[in-house]
C-alpha cells in the first residue's frame, strides 16, 4: 500500500512538472535557453534541430534551424556547445506589438523610429524596439495588419 502511495505521489509530481513545461511558449523557452546559451539547453527545450546549416558570414557559425517553432540558433563553429545569438520568426495572428508591449511592460523599452523608404511602393512607419534587460530586438511597422513582427533577435 505504501508503495502504491509513493507511485501515486511520483506520478502526480511528474505530471505537474510536465504540465508546467508544456505551459511554456517558444519565447519563454528561448529566454531560458539564452540564460545559459548552451546547445544542450536548446536541445532540451526544442529537441534536435531539423537542419544545421552554415552562416553566410565566412561560415563562422552553424545555424541550428527549427522549422515548426521558427527558431534559428547561431552556434559558434569552434565551440559547438555555445550559442552566440538566436532569432525567432514571430509573425503571430494578433496585434504583435500590443502583445509584446504588454508581455514585456516591466522592462525598459527603447523604441526608435526608422527612416522611411520615401520612393518605395509600400507605406511604412517602422520602429526598432530594444529590450536590453531581455537581450531582445525587433522591428514593427504601423502600416501592416496586426503589426506583425518578423524576426525577434535574442542575445
Amino acid at each position: 500500500m505504501r508503495l502504491l502511495h509513493i507511485c501515486f505521489f511520483l506520478f502526480v509530481a511528474c505530471a505537474q512538472i510536465q504540465s508546467e513545461s508544456d505551459q511554456l511558449d517558444d519565447i519563454d523557452k528561448v529566454l531560458l535557453v539564452m540564460k545559459t546559451k548552451t546547445t544542450a539547453e536548446l536541445v532540451k527545450f526544442f529537441g534536435e534541430p531539423d537542419e544545421i546549416s552554415l552562416s553566410d558570414d565566412n561560415k563562422k557559425m552553424k545555424i541550428y534551424r527549427y522549422k515548426k517553432s521558427r527558431v534559428d540558433a547561431y552556434v559558434y563553429g569552434k565551440n559547438r556547445n555555445k550559442i552566440s545569438h538566436l532569432t525567432i520568426f514571430f509573425f503571430k495572428d494578433f496585434d504583435n506589438y500590443t502583445y509584446l508591449k504588454k508581455r514585456f511592460e516591466k522592462f525598459k523599452w527603447l523604441e526608435k523610429k526608422l527612416p522611411d523608404n520615401k520612393s518605395g511602393d509600400v507605406a511604412s512607419d517602422k520602429y526598432l524596439v530594444e529590450i536590453p534587460e531581455r537581450g531582445m530586438q525587433f522591428e514593427y511597422d504601423n502600416h501592416t495588419p496586426k503589426r506583425k513582427v518578423m524576426w525577434i533577435y535574442f542575445e
Binding site: T98, N117, G120, V122
Partner: protein, 230 residues
C-alpha cells in the same frame, strides 16, 4: 486563481485570423458617447477584431486624406476603372480572395514619379498613378501590390522558410539583411518587397525563378497550393 493562470497561459495561443475579405482593427479606447436614443455609453477598451470589407465599390475619387500617403488624388475615368477591374479579374484565384478596401487614383508618387502604384497593407488600400496606365505590365503591377497585402496573411512557417531560402538574416543593431543576390534589384529594400517581386516573377517568368532559386519556387508553389485550398 487556477482559472487566471490558465487564461494567462492560453492568451498567447489565441489567434485572430482575419479572412481575406476582412480588415484587422486594433484594440482601441472608445471615448464615452451618447447613442441616438439618448442612452449613454461609458468609455471602454474595444478589443482587436476583424471587420468585413463591405461591397465591391472600391474605386474612390479624390477628397479624403489617406494615412501613409501625402500625394493628391484625382477622379477616375470609366475606362480606367474598366481596365483595372478587368486586370483584377485575371489575377490568380487565391490572390483575388484578398478584397481591396479602396483603390485611389493620383497623378504621381511624391517620392518616385516612375512608381506605378502604392499600397497601404493595414487598410488594404492601393493607389494607382499615371505611370500605371502607361505601363505594359498592369496585371503584374496589381499582382505585386496585392502580394504586399497577402504576405501578412501567410502561414508563418511557410513564410519563414521562404525567407531562409531567399537568404534573409536578422542581426543585432541592423535592419533585416538581404541576400547578396536578389531577383530584382529593389528586392533588397525589405523582405516584403522581395516577396512581392519573387511572386511577380513566379507568375510572369516562372522559368527564370526556377533557375534563380528552385527552392523558393517550390516554397511559393506550396504557399499558393495551401491558400487555394483554404
Amino acid at each position: 486563481m487556477r482559472l487566471l493562470v490558465f487564461i494567462l497561459f492560453l492568451w498567447p495561443s489565441i489567434s485572430l485570423a482575419c479572412k481575406p475579405n476582412e480588415i484587422h482593427i486594433r484594440e482601441q479606447w472608445i471615448k464615452p458617447y451618447t447613442k441616438t436614443d439618448g442612452s449613454k455609453v461609458l468609455g471602454h477598451v474595444r478589443s482587436e477584431h476583424c471587420r468585413t470589407i463591405s461591397g465591391h465599390n472600391y474605386f474612390q475619387d479624390a477628397g479624403r486624406e489617406i494615412k501613409g500617403f501625402k500625394g493628391k488624388f484625382k477622379a477616375w475615368t470609366q475606362s480606367e476603372k474598366a481596365l483595372v477591374q478587368s486586370k483584377l479579374d485575371e489575377l490568380p484565384s487565391w490572390l483575388k480572395k484578398y478584397k481591396i478596401a479602396s483603390i485611389l487614383r493620383a497623378s504621381s508618387h511624391p517620392g518616385n514619379t516612375k512608381n506605378p502604384a502604392f499600397t497601404i497593407p493595414a487598410s488594404k488600400t492601393i493607389i494607382l498613378f499615371d505611370a500605371f496606365f502607361k505601363s505594359w505590365a498592369v496585371k503584374d503591377v496589381l499582382l505585386h501590390e496585392l502580394a504586399h497585402i497577402a504576405i501578412w496573411d501567410l502561414d508563418p512557417v511557410q513564410l519563414h522558410q521562404f525567407f531562409i531560402s531567399n537568404g534573409w538574416t536578422y542581426q543585432k543593431g541592423k535592419r533585416p539583411i538581404p541576400p547578396s543576390k536578389v531577383i530584382i534589384p529593389d528586392s533588397s529594400h525589405s523582405p516584403s518587397e522581395d516577396f512581392a517581386n519573387t511572386l511577380e516573377v513566379y507568375y510572369s517568368n516562372p522559368k527564370l525563378l526556377k533557375e534563380f532559386n528552385p527552392k523558393s519556387f517550390s516554397i511559393l508553389e506550396e504557399i499558393i497550393k495551401s491558400k487555394d485550398n483554404r
